[in-house]
Amino acid sequence: MYDCDKDVCAYHKDEVTLPKTDQDSMRSRRDANRKRLRDGLSKANDPAPSEFVKQGSYAMKTMLRDAANDYDIDDGVYFWKEDLVGDRGAEKTSIQARWMVRDAIDDGSFKTAPEVRSNCVRVFYEKGYHVDVPVYRKSEDDDGNMVHELASSSGWKRSDARDVTHWFDDERSNSTNGTQLRRLVRLIKKYAKSRSSWKGGILSGFGITVLVTECQRIDSREDQALYDTMKAIRDRLNWNLVVKHPVTPNDTITSGDNDAKARMLRDKLTQALDWLAPLFEWDCTREKALGCWDKVFNTTYFSERGEEEARAAASYAAPIATSAALIGLESRTSASVLTSGGGRHA
C-alpha cells in the first residue's frame, strides 16, 4: 500500500481533531450552562445538583472539528433521589425532573427556549450548536451500592453516563495503542460525515466508535491502520449488521438485524475501499495516492500537501520571467478561452 502515513497523520491533526480554541470555548459554554442551572434551581428553591458528568463523544474526546462550529455536547446532571420530591412529598416523576431542569436553565436569555426532549433537556445556542443535559437521580440500594437512573421517556431507567466513558477508557487501555484507537474512531467518523447528503442516513458516531473498538487494526502506519480497520468493519458488517450497546445488556445501537444506517456505513466503506484501491498498484504515484485520500475525505487537503512539496522542490529556469516568455504561453493555451463567445445567443 502506497505510504501516506504522514499525510493521514497530518490530516488528522489539521482537519479532524478539535482545535484548542474550540475546546476552550466549549468548556466555557458548558461551565456557563452549569452555573445557569445551579442559579436557576436555587432561585426556584429546587434541590441543588449533586454533580455534573460530561458524557458522549465530548467525554470520550472523539469529537470532530467542524467548520460550521456545529458541536453538540452532552453534560449530565445528577440529583440525590431523596431531594427530588414534590410539594406534597411524593417523588418527582421522570418528566417532572426534566421540566424542573428546563425551567431552571431558561433564564430568558435564549433566542430559542430550552426544550424537554425524551431523554434530556436540550439547550439551543444561536450559532446552531446545542447542549444536551440528561437528568439523573442517584441513591444507594440496600447493599450500599450506588444506583443511577436516567429521567427517560419511559420513566426512571437504570443508566449512568459514566458507564460508556469508562467502557471506552477500558477499550483504550486494552488496546495495544489506545491513542491510535481514538484517532481511528475520529477518522472513520470524519469519513461518515464527509458528505452532507449522508447526514442522518449513516450509522451514528457512537455506533462507529463501538465498531472501531471491535474491529481495530493497530499498525505502525496510520494509513495502513485506517485502511485495515475500515476493511475489517466492512467485513464485519457484511457478516452481521447488529451493533450491541457496549454497557446496556441486551440493548442494541442498531435497530433490527438489517439496520439501514449500518447498511449505509457498510456500503460507504466499500466505496472508500474502492477509491483507495489504486494505492495497491505497483506504479501508484504520490500524486495519485494523495488524490485517492482526497476522494475518500471529500477534500483537497492531501493534494494541497503534495502541491506544497512540489512547489518547494520546483526548480525554475529563471529568477524572473521575461514578458516574451509569458506571451509565448498565450498561444499554447488559447483553446481554453474563446473571445468571440460560444455562438449561442439568447
Partner: protein, 615 residues
C-alpha cells in the same frame, strides 16, 4: 465562503489547486501567493478570494508584476489579472483604476473545467497587452475607438441622459426635458413632446412639456481622456478647437438658456456612432436652506437681457462640468443597435392590422418590435378571459377594446413609433377609413372571418391592388398556418377560397370527426391549442409580412407551415392529399412550404372588373 454558482467550496479549492499546479509547471520563474490582507488592501472594491503575483521583466528593462486573482465563484467566470502599481486611471487603455486589466470582451467564454489553462492564457495576454502599451501605439487608438468605455470610467454624474437624437453630425442645437428622475434630449420641441406624450401620456389641461435648449457637438474624432473637459472653459475650448460652428453653437446656447446647459458630444468609434454628455454647473449655486438658486447666471440683468459675452463667460466658467453617460433610445439603436440596415426602411413604413386576436396581436407585436414606424390596429371586439392564453394583452385589459388596448400598450413601450388603435370592424374600416387603407404599405388581415376578409379583398381589387394585402390564419389545433400575400399580380384572395370561406388548399383534415369543440353556449365553437402551437403560425405570418415590406414582390403567393406529423396525429388529424403532393415526399411536418396562389376568374375578380368598368 459563499459559492452559489454550482461548484461549491470543494470545487473552488480543486480549481485553485489545479491552477497553482499549472502555474508551477508552466511559468518559467517563481510566483508567490498573495495574502488575503494584500488582496483586500489592493483590490478594495472587488471580491477576490485568492491571488498570485508573477514578476515579469519587460522589453524596456523594467521589472513589473502581474497579479492573478480569482473570485469566490471560481472556476466560473474567469480569473482577472492586474498590473501591480499601474499608471492610474485613464493613462493607459484597458487598465482600470486599481490596475485590473480588461483582456476579454463581454461575450468571451472560458473553459471552467480547465482553470489552469485559462489562467496561463490570461497571464500571456496580460504580458502582451503591457508590452503593447509600453510601445505606445495602441494607447491613443484604443482610447479613441472605445471612447464610450473610458468616458464611462471618468463620469461623475449620478444620472444617465437618455437620447432620442439621431447620432450623427453636424453640431447643432437640441432640446432637453428634465424631471427629477430622468433627462431626455431630442432634436426638437416637437419630437420631444411627441415622444414624451406617447411614453407618459399627455400633460394635464393646457400644460405642455417644458423643454430647454441643449446642444450636440459632433466631433471629428472621439476625445482622448486628456481632452475630457473639467470645467465650462474646457468645454468651450474643445468646441473652439473642433470648428467655428461648434464654438458658435455653445455661445448661442449660453445666450438662449441663461442657465446650465446639457451638451452631448458625439463621434464615430470603432463600433459606430457614440454619444457622451456634459452639463455645465455654473448656474447651480443654491442656498443651503431653501434650495433656491442664490446667484442665477443672469444676476444683475433683466430677463433675457444679458449680453452674449457675459452669458458665455458666466456659463463656460471655471465651474466644473459633470460628465454623464448617455443611453441611446433612438430608433436606429433600438432596432438593431445601429447596425441593421432594414430598421430605417421599416421606420418609414405604415402597416394596418385588421383583427387583433390571437394571431393579429402577436404578429403586430413582432412587427412593432421589428421597428415598423406607423402601425394601425383595427378590431371591434373586447378582450375576454379565454383570449388571455394566446393574446399579447393580459388581465388588465379584460372588457376593453383589443385594438385600443394593444395600441396603448405598444405606444407606451415604443414611444419613437406612431401607433394608433381603431375600434371598428373591417366593414366600417372600408367605409370610413379609406385613407388608412390607401396610405398603408401593407394591410395584414388576421380576422379568420370570411365576411370581413372577403370585403377587404373586394376593396383591394376595386382599388387596383396598389399595395399588398396579407391574410394569415391557422388551421384547427394550430396544426397548419397560412400566409397569403396578395400582390398586384396573380390571384386575389377569393381565387383560392370558396364562397363560404373554405380554402381550396388545406394542410390537414380531421377524418375522425369535427375539428372543433363546442362551448356550453349556443353556437360557440373553438379548438384547443395554445400560444406555443400558435407561435410557429404567427412567426410564418410575421416573416411573410417583413419580406413584403422590405422586398419588391408583386406576385401573389402562399406560404404554409405544417406542424410536426406526430402532433397532427395526436389531435386526430391527417395531412391532406394536396399537402402531401406539395411536399413531394413523406411529410415529416415542422416545415414551411411555398406555392403560387392560384388565379381563377373568381366572382370577386368579376365583381371588381364590372365595378371598375362602371366607375
Amino acid at each position: 465562503m459563499p459559492n452559489p454558482a454550482g461548484f461549491g467550496e470543494l470545487g473552488f479549492k480543486k480549481a485553485v489547486l489545479q491552477l497553482e499546479a499549472r502555474l508551477r509547471e508552466a511559468l518559467p520563474a517563481p510566483f508567490r501567493r498573495l495574502s488575503s490582507h494584500e488582496i483586500g488592501a489592493t483590490y478594495r472594491q472587488r471580491r477576490f478570494e485568492r491571488g498570485w503575483r508573477i514578476d515579469m521583466l519587460c522589453s524596456d528593462g523594467e521589472a513589473r508584476q502581474i497579479d492573478l486573482l480569482v473570485s469566490p465563484a471560481f472556476p466560473l467566470g474567469y480569473p482577472r489579472t492586474a498590473l501591480v502599481d499601474g499608471p492610474g486611471q485613464l493613462v493607459w487603455p484597458h487598465v482600470e483604476h486599481d490596475g485590473i486589466l480588461c483582456l476579454l470582451p463581454i461575450m468571451a467564454e472560458v473553459d471552467a473545467d480547465d482553470p489552469g489553462s485559462v489562467a496561463i492564457h490570461l497571464i500571456g495576454r496580460s504580458a502582451r497587452l503591457i508590452e503593447d502599451l509600453l510601445k505606445g501605439e495602441i494607447i491613443e487608438r484604443d482610447f479613441r475607438e472605445e471612447f464610450l468605455t473610458y468616458w464611462f470610467y471618468a463620469r461623475d454624474a449620478k444620472f444617465k441622459i437618455t437620447s432620442i437624437v439621431d447620432p450623427g453630425g453636424p453640431s447643432r442645437e437640441l432640446r432637453a426635458w428634465r424631471d427629477k428622475d430622468m433627462v431626455i434630449v431630442g432634436e426638437s420641441q416637437e419630437q420631444l413632446e411627441s415622444w414624451l406624450s406617447r411614453r407618459f401620456g399627455n400633460p394635464r389641461g393646457n400644460k405642455r412639456f417644458h423643454t430647454e435648449p441643449a446642444g450636440l457637438l459632433w466631433l471629428s474624432s472621439p476625445p482622448l481622456p486628456a481632452d475630457y473637459p473639467h470645467n465650462g472653459a474646457d468645454l468651450l475650448a474643445l468646441a473652439k478647437k473642433e470648428s467655428d460652428e461648434a464654438y458658435s453653437l455653445l455661445i448661442d446656447l449660453a445666450s438662449k438658456a441663461q442657465k446650465d446647459i446639457i451638451v452631448l458630444m458625439g463621434a464615430e468609434g470603432r463600433g459606430g456612432s457614440g454619444l457622451i454628455a456634459t452639463m455645465t454647473t455654473s448656474g447651480r449655486k443654491v442656498s443651503s436652506r431653501d434650495g433656491k438658486i442664490q446667484e442665477p447666471l443672469s444676476k444683475g440683468f433683466a430677463p433675457n437681457r444679458m449680453p452674449k459675452e457675459v452669458a458665455t463667460l458666466r456659463t463656460y466658467s471655471a465651474a466644473p462640468v459633470v460628465k454623464a453617460e448617455v443611453s441611446r433610445a433612438d430608433p436606429r439603436w433600438i432596432h438593431g443597435r445601429g447596425k441593421d440596415a432594414r430598421s430605417m426602411r421599416l421606420l418609414q413604413k405604415t402597416v394596418t392590422f385588421v383583427g387583433c386576436g390571437s394571431v393579429g396581436s402577436s404578429v403586430a407585436a413582432k412587427l412593432v418590435r421589428a421597428g415598423v414606424g406607423n402601425c394601425h390596429f383595427v378590431d371591434p371586439e373586447d378582450l375576454d378571459w379565454p383570449n388571455l392564453g394566446r393574446h399579447e394583452l393580459g388581465a388588465d385589459s379584460i372588457g376593453k377594446n383589443k385594438a385600443l388596448e394593444l395600441a396603448a400598450k405598444f405606444q407606451r413601450a415604443f414611444p419613437h413609433l406612431a401607433i394608433e388603435g381603431h375600434e371598428v370592424s373591417a366593414q366600417a374600416l372600408i367605409d370610413g377609413y379609406r385613407e388608412l387603407l390607401e396610405s398603408s404599405d401593407l394591410v395584414i388581415s388576421a380576422t379568420g372571418s370570411w365576411s370581413a376578409e372577403g370585403a377587404l379583398n373586394r376593396w383591394h381589387l376595386v382599388n387596383g391592388r396598389k399595395k399588398p394585402f396579407l391574410y394569415g390564419w391557422t388551421e384547427s389545433y394550430g396544426a397548419a398556418g397560412h400566409a397569403v400575400l396578395i400582390g398586384a399580380d396573380g390571384g386575389c384572395l377569393r381565387c383560392g377560397i370558396g364562397g363560404t370561406g373554405v380554402p381550396h388548399f388545406l394542410g390537414c383534415h380531421w377524418p375522425e370527426g369535427s375539428a372543433t369543440i363546442e362551448e356550453p353556449a349556443c353556437g360557440n365553437h373553438f379548438t384547443p391549442y395554445g400560444a406555443v402551437e400558435l407561435g410557429f403560425v404567427n412567426d410564418l405570418i410575421s416573416e411573410t409580412a417583413l419580406r413584403a415590406l422590405l422586398e419588391e414582390s408583386t406576385l401573389s403567393h402562399h406560404r404554409i407551415w405544417l406542424a410536426p406529423i406526430q402532433r397532427i396525429k395526436d389531435s386526430g388529424g391527417a395531412i391532406t392529399e394536396a399537402m402531401t403532393q406539395l411536399a413531394e415526399r413523406e411529410n415529416p411536418g415542422g416545415q414551411i412550404w411555398e406555392r403560387e396562389w392560384c388565379q381563377s376568374d373568381c366572382p370577386s375578380c368579376s365583381f371588381a372588373r364590372e365595378y371598375r368598368s362602371v366607375a
